[in-house]
Amino acid sequence: MNTFEIALILGMAVITFAIRYTLFAVGHKVRFSPLVTQALTYVPVAVLSAIAVPVMLMPDGEGLQLSLDNDYLVGGVAAIIIAARWRNLLATIAGGILCFFLWRFLYG
């Protein structure tokens, strides 16, 4: 490891830990208002959708790819259908990945 790598990893480690620990550290003093509590219930849905949907719709990062050639979109829609129908996490992940690779194999 060179100096850049050491600085990179230590910097990322400190920043990530600080984000995760700050509220836990002062835990006994923090009380959230009802609005903040209400807002927090929407955070996972908003953040994870914001990460996943752009990858599905534009896997190359350049413009929308709304076609059957887009295996990320086909696999993602399959995962959404499985999740909505069975509400089973393992089935969604395994089924989605299976559809993605089958589609890639058949059309790739």
């Binding site: 790598e5 990179l8 990322m12 995760r20 927090l40 849905v45 953040v47 994870l48 914001a50 999740a83």
Partner: protein, 240 residues
């Protein structure tokens, strides 16, 4: 339930997440080495940072020769959502001694948050043992994440084209598996649709700013939609 039973239950309930994390970890290892990070740095990042999407983004920024300052700023933005996770879990951990809070905070990820938060909201076991469940989930993720990073490094050296296989789809399938069951009411669906639309529209913004903007507007839309729903049907009061 005993501490060891909670611990094992936390590990067991995290297994579905591991199915998504295995390919994701392997891709990270492969991608990081092909971006020019040394094997030592690739593995040290999995051990010390332990944040899949941030590690992924950092490796691709290293490959494009980005400066240290910009990579660290990007890490801050990509991981800021963990502060909101820790806020959601805070009511359940604030009674624990600091050494527990340090450990659980260090190991807090999207996957463990999803599993552990669900468990805390169940009322079938007393709160005082549930941090063992939290720890079990974290250690399952952590050990597997490191092992998969190592496998990725080794595979990447043997098969340099592995980065093009699309194994990163595993992350998408995992996030879909977490999000879709949460879409139980209209405000949740509104939050997901607004966040998705803004994320796609603002994709071109630098440093993943589009992601934070999308998250912020998605949450706002969810809150506004919930208030409207309550105003229209004052009798149908839902739990927040």
């Amino acid at each position: 339930m005993s501490a060891s039973r909670e611990f094992l239950l936390g590990m067991r309930d995290t297994i579905p997440m591991l199915v998504g994390a295995v390919p994701f970890g392997i891709v990270y290892g492969t991608l990081a080495v092909s971006s020019g990070l040394s094997v030592g740095a690739t593995l040290a990042m999995s051990l010390l940072v332990f944040a899949g999407s941030a590690q992924f983004v950092a490796a691709s920024l290293v490959a494009s020769g980005t400066s240290l300052t910009v990579i660290l700023l990007t890490t801050l933005i990509v991981n800021l959502r963990h502060m909101l996770y820790s806020a959601s879990l805070l009511p359940f951990v604030r009674h624990l001694p600091q050494r527990w809070r340090v450990a659980l905070a260090f190991w807090l990820t999207d996957e463990s948050f999803a599993v552990v938060h669900r468990h805390y909201l169940l009322n079938d076991s007393p709160l005082e043992r549930k941090h063992w469940y939290f720890l079990g989930s974290c250690l399952a993720m952590y050990s597997l994440w490191f092992a998969c990073s190592l496998v990725g490094v080794l595979l990447g050296q043997a098969l340099p084209s592995l980065g093009d296989w699309g194994l990163d789809f595993a992350m998408i399938a995992t996030f879909i598996g977490i999000v879709v069951p949460l879409l139980r009411n209209q405000p949740m669906i509104v939050a997901a649709l607004v966040a998705s639309t803004v994320a796609v529209a603002a994709h071109g913004l630098p440093w993943k700013l589009g992601l934070m903007l999308a998250a912020l507007l998605g949450v706002t839309a969810g809150v506004v939609a919930e208030r409207w729903a309550l105003r229209d049907r004052p009798a149908a009061v839902e739990a927040p």
